[in-house]
């Protein structure tokens, strides 16, 4: 490991079973220890960024698995990489770095496969405090998974088997003799960094290291020594004796999400997380991993000290696996859809920033969000149409709370009245909030997301009025149509940064927007009458903002582009594509006000 990248790193060598392991420690040794185990074909450098972040709070230990990086390889290679021997190595390392305290283990890929062995065999009992697994199943669980599907094949199970079977193509390749070694030491080794950058969007850096061809050639024996044996005769007692946090990258091209469907039977204390990313998450999503590892290990440390067990502290809302610990910013969060969205994210365990120009309302949303599950929540007072204020907010958020993972540009105002009665002042007001507010949000917070380069999601609240023309809402519909188009363009641009963009088109939802809508060309009394009238109509329709919030969370999870919510919004969307003439006809009708 380049010690230059890891200030304060201390290297030592641990001898075990005739080989020497290269071990690096970071952070104060008096603190509880987290051991990071790398996968194939990696070396401990894969963890650099995660380790650096964890070292602020923990004693972080990384080591090169035997035959990788600066560790020596067993002689002969055949039979030198069995899980039993890897467990010996692990015990030797933790005996050296944390002799009298259990450690938190984190494994990626083959590191995770190994660590499943550590977490399920009896000789490590009492030596491990928690285990965070990512992109690497237990071979024993995998063996049982296959057996169960072979024994009772249903179409779905056969589909899962074939799906995973196709994803495992490289495992068969690695079982052929000599050829993999030749490939790795030859062209594949040379091209590997480029392949990773292209397919996995791994940013360039200190990884992969120069030892890659050797590491990959040696590591082939990880597969040859273990896979066939374990899949044929999986251990029947592979129950985890430690709490496990499972992080599943949803875009992993090597491992199917279904591998973990029955994991609860093997792990009594399981916390699930999912991440919209590909396989190499330690490189592509270090911030999110560090935050989840940190949170999980800390909760387990507290449990060790006699606090409440980790399971009780886990959020229980919809998509808690996906949004737990993330940072979500919602504008227009003092009421209606914004508030409901903030609450839905809070229930999923996200940290919430509630932004609104109504300070009291924003603070209240934040307070209630904390009460229903947000680990932290803040209320911020900003008028989204005020560029300078938004810039200040973006700066404050970046320095105090971090980079936003999900941005919901929801703030908006209503404006009704015919075009000829809409003044340019009216136009300016509605465009300032509804369109410029979204532009400022996307530009500032989207910019921060793109700069961090670890993905994210932007949700813009458009409206069914974006594709449903109407003589009553020319300015409002125009602003919302602009938001819809902006979202679609931005989606195209940010796709390469793994940032999703969704436009939500709610329709008629029972919120406060009708009570503040400006009716162009009316006097105060008439405006009040119209507000009451529309509020009443919206009340009779009675579509709850909570359902829109659900749609927003779902849209983020599924990365949907355009999401109509209410049935009328679906109908309008459908007609706008099938027969826009009908919508144009409807647009001529005077609204019943």
């Amino acid at each position: 490991m380049s010690l230059r990248d890891l200030p304060g790193a201390r290297e030592r060598r641990v001898a075990t079973g005739g080989i020497e392991l290269c071990v690096v420690e970071l952070g104060e040794a008096t603190r509880p220890t987290i051991v990071l185990v790398h996968g194939y074909p990696d070396s401990k450098e894969v963890w650099t960024q995660v380790a650096r972040q964890l070292a602020e709070r923990w004693h972080v230990v990384l080591y090169d698995v035997r035959g990788h990086g600066s560790s020596t390889a067993p002689v002969p290679l055949r039979g030198g990489f069995t899980l039993e021997k890897l467990t010996d190595d692990f015990l030797a390392v933790i005996d050296a770095v944390s002799p009298d305290r259990p450690v938190h283990v984190v494994g990626h890929d083959w590191g995770s496969v190994q660590a499943w062995e550590f977490a399920t065999v009896s000789r490590t009992e009492g030596r491990i405090a928690s285990f965070t697994a990512m992109s690497g199943p237990s071979l024993d669980h995998f063996g049982h998974w296959i057996k169960r599907r072979m024994a009772r094949p249903t179409p779905r199970r056969v589909g899962q088997l074939l799906g995973q079977g196709a994803k495992s193509w490289y495992v068969y390749m690695l079982h052929t003799p000599v050829l993999p070694e030749l490939a790795w030491r030859g062209p594949l080794g040379k091209r590997w960094p480029g392949i990773l950058e292209r397919l996995e969007k791994v940013p360039p850096g200190d990884y992969p290291t120069a030892s890659l061809p050797d590491d990959a050639a040696h590591g082939a024996w990880l597969y040859r020594d273990n896979v066939r044996a374990r899949l044929r005769r999986p251990r029947p007692d592979a129950y985890a004796h430690v709490p496990v946090q499972l992080i599943t990258p949803t875009g992993d091209i090597f491992l199917s999400e279904h591998l973990y469907d029955e994991l609860d039977t093997w792990v009594p204390q399981l916390t699930r997380r999912s991440l919209p990313a590909k396989h190499w998450v330690p490189r592509t999503r270090p911030d999110q991993l560090a935050s989840w590892i940190n949170e999980f290990a800390a909760a387990n440390e507290a449990a060790l000290q006699g606090g409440i067990p980790v399971r009780d502290t886990a959020p229980k809302g919809a998509y808690a696996d996906r949004f737990g610990g993330q940072l979500v910013l919602v504008t227009g969060a003092a009421g209606g859809i914004g508030r409901a969205t903030a609450f839905a994210f809070a229930e999923a365990g996200a940290r919430v920033i509630a932004v609104d120009r109504d300070a009291e309302g924003a603070a209240r949303t934040a307070e209630l969000a904390r009460l229903i599950g947000a680990p932290a929540a803040w209320g911020e007072t900003v008028d989204v149409s005020d560029e300078a204020a938004m810039e200040k907010l973006a700066e404050k958020v970046a320095t105090e709370y971090g980079t936003v993972d999900v941005l919901v540009n929801n703030a908006g105002i209503g404006l009704s009245g015919s075009f000829l009665e809409t003044t340019s002042e009216d136009w300016k007001n509605v465009l300032d909030v509804n369109l410029w507010g979204v532009i400022h949000g996307c530009r500032l917070f989207g910019g921060q997301m793109a700069e961090r380069g670890q993905g994210g999601h932007i949700v813009n609240t458009a409206s069914a009025a974006a594709y449903q023309p109407s003589r009553a809402l020319p300015a409002y519909s125009t602003s919302k149509a602009a938001v819809l188009m902006l979202s679609e363009c931005l989606r195209a641009e940010l796709a390469e940064k793994s940032i999703g963009v969704s436009a939500i088109c709610p329709g008629i939802v029972h919120t406060n927007i009708t009570a503040t809508t400006h009716f162009a060309g009316t006097d105060a009394a008439e405006e009040k009458r119209l507000r009451n009238r529309t509020s009443k109509l919206y009340g009779v329709r009675n579509y709850p903002p909570e359902k829109v919030a659900e749609a927003i969370l779902r849209a983020v999870v599924r990365n949907q582009a355009v999401v109509p919510v209410t049935p009328e919004s679906h109908t309008a969307r459908f007609l706008s594509r099938l027969s826009p003439g009908v919508l144009r006809g409807i647009a001529r009708l005077k609204p019943p006000l």
């Binding site: 229930e347 209630l368 009460l371 229903i372 406060n512």
Partner: protein, 283 residues
């Protein structure tokens, strides 16, 4: 008694106060006995039994109990859903007990919200009910139309971040009038409501309809009149994502010109009021 003038010296008030206290005592006693595994039906039965042992023979309505997300009336569409079910209480669940006994010809309706264990969210909901109690009294004294007060209560709830769950009550009422109930040897219940009390309510409705007022305080047009002298069982009910909280107690409305005397809560020595006072002292 519907149209009779009432003031604090009215000889009937102590009778109503007694039955209201009895009902709250019942709710507190039963709440203290609630354990995980108790069903809504059992909790309702415990209330019924407790009050029968103390001489209650008739009801405005039979005791209700709601557990978990049923306290927020999630998905309530038909009135039958109000009746106690076999839902079991679990640790960390909110509950509401709602009792309306008739005792010595007086009746009261009360609502008692609690949580099995401790919960800051529930504390918050209960604390936020205090301003509703103040708002209702203030606006009644201002003689605002009941319908407008209703809308103000609802607006305040929404501003607080909650949903108005008394919307789910029959006719969406926030309150209904209570009065003396004739004591009969046999007073059956219809759909959980005592026939004698219903008779009173019905006669109020008939009289009121003629004079342009209603014994049900609702968001509808028939509540667009100033407060009607009499006793009103007021029950604002907050809902927040699967948790509900309410109180219910009697508000006395008179036609006195003195604002203090024109409306007042029948009793200030009730569990939720004591709780708010204690919180203020603690703060």
């Amino acid at each position: 008694m519907a149209s009779r003038v009432i003031d604090e010296r009215a000889p009937e008030l102590p009778g109503f106060r007694d039955v209201q206290r009895l009902a709250y005592a019942c709710a507190e006693a039963v709440a203290a006995r609630l354990r995980p595994g108790v069903t809504e039906r059992e909790a309702a039965g415990m209330q019924r039994e407790w009050l029968r042992e103390r001489g209650v023979r008739d009801w405005f309505h039979l005791p209700f109990a709601w557990f978990g997300d049923r306290t927020a009336f999630t998905g309530f569409k038909v009135p039958l859903q109000f009746f106690p079910t076999n839902r079991q209480l679990e640790p960390g669940m909110p509950f509401i007990l709602d009792v309306a006994p008739v005792y010595k010809g007086f009746t009261a309706g009360i609502g008692y919200s609690g949580w099995l264990g401790l919960n800051p969210l529930h504390d918050k909901l209960l604390a936020d009910l205090e301003v509703h109690r103040e708002l209702i009294l203030r606006e009644i004294r201002e003689r605002r139309p009941l319908r407008e007060i209703y809308e103000d209560v609802e607006r305040l709830m929404i501003r607080q971040g909650y949903a108005n769950r008394h919307r789910a009550y029959p006719f969406g009422v926030i309150a209904h009038k209570v009065g003396r109930v004739a004591e009969r040897r046999w007073s059956p219940q219809v759909f959980g409501f005592g026939t004698q009390s219903l008779k009173g309510l019905l006669s109020d409705a008939v009289h009121g309809h003629r004079d342009g007022w209603s014994p049900l305080w609702s968001p509808h047009r028939f509540s667009g009149h100033p407060p009607r002298p009499g006793l009103w069982a007021v029950e604002p009910h907050l809902g927040f994502r699967g948790t509900g909280a309410k109180f219910e107690e009697i508000l006395v409305v008179t036609d006195s010109r003195d604002p203090e005397q024109s409306a007042f809560w029948l009793d200030d020595d009730l569990p939720h009021v004591r709780r708010w006072a204690e919180e203020r002292v603690a703060a």
